[in-house]
């Protein structure tokens, strides 16, 4: 059993005292920041990224993954307790979770979320260990043409699955691709779009873009709806679900896990799509569907299982192909590049300890999540109570110091302010920043693969259609695009997102 050997190697790495410590710190910090209303995983990870740069690669990625699940779980906590989902993937958790909290069953909702996440995380980690190696083997056979087409498919899929205007989402991707090209061209050494500024010679740091668009931009947008949040004098109630509850959540958790694992692998999918679909499926099949929206425990269990499973399996394309399927994975890839690791199928064979260490740490991180969060719920409740007007200056302080410390440059701080303004304008125009961040990370890779593919084919563009894998991916992209453009289906897609 090779998989057991690999997992043993992974646990060996992840269970070292330092890595355990960073995993714990990551989960703790991630939850602490993620629980703050208005801060989703992308902003949380961007804020905490600079703290991981000084660590060795394995520890830093383990800590980042920990931050990710922590932030995800923290978001669910906020959704349940104050009906303020910090991120899109916990929007559906708020529907029934908040109702449960109002009925004095907050503790049960939180425990259900934790149990569902833990179970889903365990299954998804195992799936990851199972499917990553064959996928990486396949990816090793990919040439530049396949990679280019794969990226096209990934970007197209992220547009199809994004909500809001299709045109704007495509525009934001191309904008991101262009921004990613700023800096010195690796092949010719020509500085591009740098306006003769030496600070731009190495390109724009992705942390600056992420913090500006997701941190600053969000803050300005949130300030507009600054109301006093009505915090119910919070009684968490009993934590553990009783036998009756447990019986009711088993099936939803299983369904949520299956659906989430599947949808997480899709480009553009990840946690959000998973939790939305799990909720609507559950609503259709559950015997208790009349109670959905009124505090049904199934309505918490299914989407929570799905979003954690999706969060986990979205690591599959990132770790094996080096292609991000959502903005969080884009940040992970950025972090790997900073650590000097070129993401792609070679990571698994060249750095097995790193690869399997991350996978093992996912399970450990999920375990920490459950041990850490249930007893510490009192602390999280107090963190949620911090009023927003004291909170956002603190977020700004962390963003500013973090960005400054990237390369000790004031320029990055100014650039972050500029991206903040741009992010705010995008929010106003309902143009989502997430596709832009994806494009930004993929831009330079995409150019490189296009270049190599056409160099090898002696500038024959037909190469993309002559190679079967590449052609399949391009055809899939075309179908996906066509499907969304058809008016009848477009209406359905809009309805699905309204739901």
């Amino acid at each position: 059993m090779e998989i057991l050997q690999n997992l043993a190697l992974g646990f060996d790495t992840a269970l070292s005292l330092t890595n355990l410590f960073y995993c714990l710190i990551g989960v703790f910090l991630g939850t602490a920041i993620g629980v703050l209303p208005g801060l989703g995983p992308v902003a949380t990870i961007a804020m905490l990224l600079p703290a991981t740069f000084t660590l060795p690669p394995v520890s830093s990625l383990i800590m980042l993954s920990g931050i990710y699940y922590g932030a995800q779980y923290g978001g669910s906590t906020t959704a349940i307790l104050v009906n303020l989902p910090g991120e899109s993937s916990s929007v559906v958790t708020a529907l029934d979770g908040y109702q449960m909290a109002r009925q004095g069953r907050a503790g049960k909702a939180l425990a259900t979320a934790a149990l569902a996440s833990f179970f889903a995380g365990t299954v998804a980690t195992f799936l990851l260990a199972l499917f990553a190696p064959p996928l990486a083997d396949l990816a090793l056979k990919f040439g530049p043409a396949e990679y280019f087409s794969l990226m096209v498919l990934g970007l197209v899929a992220s547009v199809v699955l994004a909500h809001g205007s299709l045109l704007r989402a495509v525009g934001m991707i191309i904008l991101g691709l262009l921004l990613g090209l700023v800096g010195t061209d690796v092949n010719s050494g020509t500085p591009r779009y740098t306006f003769d500024l030496p600070q731009l010679a190495d390109g724009i740091n992705f942390v600056v873009v992420a913090m500006g668009m997701f941190g600053l931009g969000e803050i300005i947008a949130n300030l507009e709806h600054e109301e006093s949040r009505s915090l119910l004098a919070m009684k968490v109630g009993t934590l553990m679900p009783d036998k009756e509850d447990l019986k009711r959540i088993v099936a939803p958790i299983l369904r949520g896990t299956a659906l989430g694992s599947l949808l997480g692998i899709l480009p553009g999918g990840g946690a959000m799509l998973a939790s939305f679909s799990a909720y609507s499926v559950e609503k259709k099949v559950s015997k208790n569907s009349a109670n959905f929206g009124k505090g049904a425990i199934e309505g918490v269990a299914a989407p929570e299982a799905a979003n954690n499973a999706g969060a986990q399996t979205s690591f599959i394309p990132m770790l094996t192909l080096g292609i991000p399927s959502n903005p969080v994975m884009a940040l992970m890839i950025g972090a790997m590049i900073i650590q000097g690791i070129q993401p792609g199928p070679a990571v698994m064979t060249e750095q097995p300890a790193l690869f399997w260490g991350i996978i093992a740490s996912m399970w450990i991180g999920n375990f920490f999540l459950i041990v850490l969060n249930l007893p510490m719920i009192g602390l999280w409740v107090r963190m949620i109570m911090v009023p927003y007007h004291f909170l956002y200056p603190g977020i700004l302080v962390f963003c500013a110091i973090g960005v400054f410390s990237l390369s000790n440059s004031e320029f990055d701080v100014y650039l972050m302010a500029l991206f903040g303004l741009f992010g705010y304008i995008c929010t106003k125009l309902s143009a989502e920043p997430a596709p832009m961040l994806l494009g930004f990370i993929i831009g330079p890779m995409m150019e490189e693969y296009l270049r190599r593919a056409l160099l090898l084919s002696r500038s024959d563009p037909m190469v993309f259609l002559q190679r079967p894998i590449s052609a399949t991916m391009l055809i899939l992209s075309a179908i996906a695009m066509a499907v969304v453009l058809l008016p009848a289906l477009r209406k359905k897609r809009e309805e699905a997102f309204v739901e």
């Binding site: 704007r168 191309i174 090209l181 600054e226 007007h389 200056p393 320029f411």
Partner: protein
């Protein structure tokens, strides 16, 4: 003019795409184009630039026909306060040091809130400044002056 535009969001995002796309193409003319088989630095950005400009055009044209929601008002005061707070942080961090920079950032950005009051915010600012110094300079050892050369006599 504005009565012609039925979808403000489509119109303005179209303008942004068009301007950025054309800028990418025009600035890109300074770099070597190369051929498809031997791409110069201008090749890929020029393609993207044209694509983006085209999308912008479509979006602008569409905004004249398909109605959409109007754009909600811009919170100019909030933008100015937050932006200037962050920029001032950048200006102050080296010269005046981390402590002063953090306090300025918190006070100025806090002013954007409708709930701004001097004393409680000052308390938060000082608390955050001490925290930042302890965590980032003492703890993580980042090379930032606590009190900068401007304030040393």
């Amino acid at each position: 003019m504005s009565s012609l535009i039925r979808n403000q969001k489509d119109f303005w995002s179209g303008i942004i795409f068009l301007v950025v796309g054309l800028a990418a193409v025009i600035i890109g003319r300074e770099y070597t184009m190369g051929t498809a088989g031997r791409m110069g630095p201008a090749y890929f950005p020029t393609i993207l630039g044209w694509l983006l400009a085209l999308l912008g055009m479509i979006s602008i044209v569409r905004s004249l026909f398909r109605p959409g929601e109007p754009i909600s008002r811009f919170a100019i005061k909030d933008i100015v306060m937050i932006m200037s707070a962050v920029i001032l942080f950048g200006l102050l961090i080296r010269g005046a040091g981390l402590f002063v920079a953090v306090i300025t950032l918190v006070m100025l950005s806090g002013f954007a809130s409708t709930k701004f009051k001097v004393l409680p915010f000052l308390a938060v600012a000082i608390g955050l400044a001490i925290f930042a110094v302890l965590v980032f300079v003492t703890g993580l050892g980042l090379p930032m002056p606590i009190v900068g050369p401007w304030l040393r006599f």
